[in-house]
């Protein structure tokens, strides 16, 4: 491996990113960009744009996809292992400890009241997340139909979400191919 000396800084950089990002994937991207392109100059801005575009269209959390990808491009498979481990480790340790702590404090009345409030606050957060996802979504008839179908099937039936996702992927592929064909014929 030609960039062996980068392995440790890579791990530490992603450890830092994992420890100081609150709110997950998208919040991490500016940090990754700053560390990787400005501080360490491992990759170019264009690389990062490609990485984010691909992280969005591959399965799994954006944070993990980006870390694996940056790690791989910086120093190969070993780099991707260390970058991913770095981004996962702080969350893992923090949450494992919190989960142990919770078991001991959940019986306290004030804690139960606090969580009653937090549950209501969380509803606001998920509604906000839904609104931002809707804003990023393509706005045309086919997209509305797919969204509506996925919504109805998941709310009203017990069909596994796995099948809903596969079905929508096929539907998206077929309709986009048909539209491209139409465009080609129009020309």
């Amino acid at each position: 491996m030609k960039n062996k000396e980068r392995l440790l800084p890579l791990f530490l950089t992603f450890l830092k990113i994992g420890a100081f990002t609150f709110g997950g994937g998208y919040a991490m991207i500016p940090l990754i960009q700053k560390e990787v392109t400005e501080t360490h100059k491992w990759l170019s801005d264009e690389d990062i744009l490609n990485i984010v575009a691909i992280a969005e269209s591959t399965p799994g959390p954006i944070a993990i996809n980006s870390a694996t990808f940056v790690g791989y491009m910086t120093c190969g498979v070993m780099g991707s292992v260390l970058a991913t481990l770095g981004v996962v480790l702080p969350a893992f340790i923090f949450i494992a400890l919190v989960s142990l702590l919770l078991r001991n404090i959940m019986d306290i009345q004030a804690v139960q009241y606090a969580f009653m409030g937090i549950r209501a606050g969380v509803l606001a957060l998920v509604v906000k997340a839904l609104i931002s996802m809707y804003k990023q979504c393509p706005k045309h008839l086919v997209a509305y139909i797919i969204a509506g179908l996925a919504f109805a099937v998941s709310l009203l039936t017990d069909i596994s979400i796995l099948y809903v996702i596969i079905g929508c992927a096929v539907l998206g592929l077929v309709t986009s191919m048909m539209m491209k064909k139409k465009e080609a014929e129009a020309k």
Binding site: G18, A19, F22, G24, G25, I54, E56, S57, T58, P59, G60, P61, A63, I64, N65, T68, F69, Y72, M73, S80, V87, V88, A91, F92, I95, A96, S99, L100, Q109, A110, Y113, F115, M116, G117, I118, A120, G121, V122, L123, A124, L125, V126, K128, L130, M133, Q136, P138, A143, I146, A147, A150, S154, L155, I161, I165, G172, L173, T175, S176, M177
Partner: protein
């Protein structure tokens, strides 16, 4: 609560990791179906945890996998669930990295994504509705002894949270803190 084997934890989170696109809350509907319907943890503990996750470092997916793994299988359960949710990403990215420029330009990928993006919106909308109903009406629609006051308190915090997020652009951690304080205040005030 149901007992869950370590292997089941690993494979459940592997499946979730493999079929969640877009990360974060795109996982909600899956978690609801796999974890709540199978009675691994109840909806209230899950929503509590989403609040904790918002105020904790790291990606939501890792947080939730670690938490559920820890609840159901201790440290080993937490490690296997987290490994399960990470592994599909890791493998897929290593493969895609070999020909990523082609992948980026691919019509098949963009076609599939044109179906997956709206699907995610529909699925999350459904998960959110389920969540809202279960948080506001934990005992179903029949009002319990104190359920009345609790619904109004929850609705007020929910509305305030939305206002602070959408209009005042406040950070999620701020919303969680305010909600906790209001919950404690209202709890003692109304003796819920």
């Amino acid at each position: 609560m149901t007992e869950v084997s370590l292997l089941t934890l690993f494979f459940t989170f592997f499946k979730i990791g493999l079929f969640t696109f877009g990360g974060g809350y795109a996982m909600l509907p899956f978690i609801q179906q796999e974890v709540m319907l199978n009675n691994w943890i109840d909806e209230a503990s899950f929503v509590n945890f989403v609040g904790i996750s918002e105020s904790s470092p790291g990606p939501f997916a890792i947080n939730i996998a670690t938490f559920i793994g820890m609840e159901k299988g201790g440290w080993l359960g937490a490690a296997l669930s987290t490994l399960g949710v990470v592994l599909p990403s890791f493998i897929v990215i290593l493969i895609v990295a070999q020909f990523y420029l082609k992948f980026k330009e691919s019509r098949i990928v963009s076609g599939v994504m044109s179906g997956l993006k709206p699907a995610a919106v529909g699925l999350i909308a459904s998960a959110v509705i389920t969540m809202v109903i279960e948080v506001l009406f934990p005992a179903g629609f029949s009002l319990g002894q104190f359920a009345g006051a609790q619904i109004y308190v929850s609705l007020a915090i929910f509305a305030l949270g939305l206002f602070l997020l959408l209009k005042m652009k406040k950070h999620p951690i701020f919303i969680i803190c305010i909600s906790a304080v209001l919950g404690i205040g209202a709890g003692y005030l109304f003796g819920l």
